[in-house]
Amino acid sequence: MATLHITLNPLAVDRLHEALTCLSKFGDSVTLEARRNKLNLRTLNPTHSAHILICLAGDTFCDSYNFVPDASKLSFGSNGGSQVSQRLEEGAFKCKMNVKALLPVFRGRYVQEPINKERDENMVGGIDKCEIVLQEKPNKGQCRLIVKLFCRQGTMKTFRLQYEEADIIYATFLKEWGVNKWAIRASELKKWMEHFGPKTEHLEIAADDEERVNFTSYTLKIIDGAHILKTPLQTSIELDLIEFNEFQVTRDTPIAVSVKDFKSIVTHAGTLEHVQIQAVYGEPGQPMQITYDQNGMFCEFTLMTRKKGAAGPAGKAEPVAKIMSHRSAVPGSVTGSAVRTGEPSVISRKSVTPAAPSMVSVQPVVAAKDNSRSESVSTEMPPPPLRVTPRDGSVSAVSNSRDSQALLSGTRQSSLSTGLRGSLQPRQSQSLFIMDEDDDVFGPSPAPAGDEQYEALLDDLDDEDVLGWDASLGSERVSFVELQERAVNADKGKGVVRQERGQKQGRAEESGSYVEATQRKNVVKGLFDD
């Protein structure tokens, strides 16, 4: 039975609360991993595009830290020196908790010592120390993480928090990806963050020239329910390189991440004094790692960056400027949507996903390492039901990014005329949701093989579709595409589906791409049906 006993001073409790607040902005649950000399807090966001690791060092962050792993979980092999590090990894206590249960426990615990003695008498808040103890009694069903707060006036507050067992999910970040790096003081960066509005979706960081770095935020949300957002907002902030403590970025590697994530990070870093944020990244589409640490708290954020949008086999992305001109070139008509559809082609929303299977080096941010459950990612996080909504329907988008320009232009016509079924626009809304799923399905597979696999899978799906849904398949691995199909099947009669299928297969043969297949499943159609 593992034992864990941590003592924290009020200041550390306050910092722990800040850290948890930051984690709560990414996901609802936090994974605790206790090791011999440190406590790791991890959160993976629901779309798997961001992974946060906050490591609290046992000696510097905590007043006292004592963790004894469960003896039964340790291997008793050779005790040679080479085994030591391995043994450190073993027996780690891992659990998962709802961050919302943790937050109020640590909120507002640090209150400065009052100067006025009389006021002190009536002080309610403030603690002397905080103890965190693990109570593990598997047989009694009394597994709790117990947090005891010793308050100033002799009051003791005890919180018994429930937890569940969890596997640790690591983010992979290969050393060779870290070709670009910069470092800047958090306070400096924080000053500028407020300019990026809450509605903006992604932030592009680009070294424009030798002297300046450009932070640009875009609004990518085009369709929100029935409403079409008519005011794409773009905010650009140029920072002089002087502001950076370190800056080594190859030119022409603009990189884009989610504004919200980036702001959350900077906000948290800003609560620490004199912290320097360090960012390391490679090509767009590869993860970006942001790190900083202070007084025993080490924070590491792995964010997936957007892949350069509709990059064909050539792999060259269009510069933003060009897109802008393209935008303005598309006048009137469906402008509202058409204009913005330009953007996704530059930067696809979730680059975690192999938006373009033909692209090289598509790496999942997240690799489930524990228990060698390579599939844990996909099985643990089935797409939320939300996604099966008509508007994220068409899978066609995915294909577009992959395929040749000819195909693009071919479909663009329709995009302008219908505004909804066109190649560009559906892709945009598509990429928001589907690609993520694609990631789950295809992420682990080597990218070059992606094409065939993808098509093979689509064939499978076709069969499925025709034959009707087989529940046995779903139990193992339900992809979003499949879910969609299910939804479609449920909505429409079989006949309709089959008919559609026929159409699509026909189209598929013409173009030789899987685009058509996905269009068949296009749930956007559901919109009109309804």
Partner: protein
């Protein structure tokens, strides 16, 4: 309890009239029980009492003493001169005795939410800072930060039409406020006068139900009496409130055992216990425990007392042999030195044989659950 004054009383002038130069403290006090829309009012020569009850399991009373008014006249028509004659205004906790209610008090029901809105017209809700400063000027500072600004909205629910409507109105108008009640069947009139502008509000009064019963509290079987700083109780309940629990477990054990006084609750994700030490005189003013006491109360009901907890300076907690919990809050109104006002809450315990999640090994001791229906039979004379 039906010997109310006859309606003919109105002929000879109002049964009750009172004048106050500020409605703020009245408003603040009434707001503490403002979680129910209807209040029962009982007027006597000693005080005017507002009571509310929820689910027949909790009651709250506020007694406005004549001290709070610059003029206070009570002239029952079916005059029973000795009851009205020159009784000294009660000014201490001992005189705040709900049981000493007299039969010939004027009783009616009134819409409390409407009354509170009327008082707001006067700017009573003007600036909360000023208001709480006046009331709690004995404790300011970081320690209680946020406490006075606790959003009470979640406890009151829809009771106040729009509690924040006048929040920004920081005008403090000098003027007078007159309460007039002519007698049974007449409305309660609130006349706000200010620099030539007179606002008259007539609040419809309702005939009280034939039996408005106090939750009986048996002083002879008192198990404990604790007086502690209200702020600490408030803080503890706030902590527990985060768990959104159903039940509050209130347990007290005699000094040799520790902890002495603890509140605990269980939510969906976690459970929590707050233990108070009886030894800290700063927190605990009085700690008298005759026997162990464990009671379960509906958290949602206890939470309704949190506003009173927020403005009060001290609270007296008592439990009787039946498990009824009495909380009396001492609220310091107006300038220092003025007689304090008391707000009284009573809670019936939850029946212990219902299935509740056991967090601590409970010793039921002298506690026995009480059915809500019982209290009707044992109502006070």
């Amino acid at each position: 309890m039906t010997q109310d004054p006859t309606p003919s009383a109105a002929v000879s002038g109002p049964v009750f009239s009172a004048i106050s130069s500020s409605t703020r403290h009245i408003y603040d006090l009434l707001k503490c029980i403002g979680f129910m829309p209807i209040a029962s009012v009982s007027i006597s020569a000693d005080n005017i009492r507002f009571s509310v009850e929820d689910s027949h399991s909790m009651q709250a009373n506020v007694c406005l003493t004549p001290d709070l008014f610059s003029s206070y006249n009570y002239t029952p028509s079916s005059v029973n001169p000795d009851s009205a004659a020159g009784a000294a205004p009660p000014s201490s906790a001992e005189q705040f005795n709900l049981e000493s209610e007299e039969e010939n008090n004027v009783k009616f029901q009134i819409s409390l939410s409407a009354l509170l809105e009327c008082l707001q017209i006067f700017g009573a809700d003007g600036s909360n800072i000023g208001g709480s400063g006046g009331i709690n000027n004995n404790r300011q500072g970081g320690g209680v930060s946020g406490r006075d600004n606790v959003p009470f909205g979640r406890q009151g629910g829809p009771v106040f039409g729009n509690p924040n409507l006048f929040e920004q109105n920081s005008l403090r108008l000098p003027g007078t406020c007159r309460f007039v009640y002519q007698g049974t069947g007449f409305p309660l009139s609130i006349i706000l006068e200010d620099a030539g502008v007179t606002t008259t509000c007539h609040l419809t009064t309702f005939v009280p139900p034939s039996s408005v019963d106090l939750i009986p509290f048996n002083r002879t079987t008192l198990t404990h009496k604790i007086i502690l700083k209200s702020a600490f109780l408030h803080d503890a309940l706030l902590e527990l409130d985060h768990l959104s629990p159903e039940t509050l477990i209130y347990s007290i054990s005699p000094p040799p055992k520790r902890p002495n006084f603890s509140l605990s609750a269980t939510g969906i994700l976690s459970s929590a216990t707050i233990d108070f030490s009886a030894n800290n005189k700063v927190v605990m003013e009085t700690f008298l425990v005759h026997e162990e006491f464990v009671g379960r109360y509906k958290f949602g009901l206890v939470r309704k007392a949190m506003r009173a907890m927020g403005v009060a300076s001290k609270v007296s907690l008592r439990g009787d042999g039946e498990g009824v919990l009495s909380m009396q809050y001492l609220v310091e109104v107006g300038e220092k030195g003025a007689a304090p006002t008391f707000i009284d809450f009573r809670f019936l315990p939850l029946n212990h044989d219902e299935d509740y999640e056991d967090e601590r090994g409970e010793d039921e001791g002298g506690y026995s659950g009480r059915d809500e229906d019982d209290d009707g039979d044992e109502m006070m004379e």
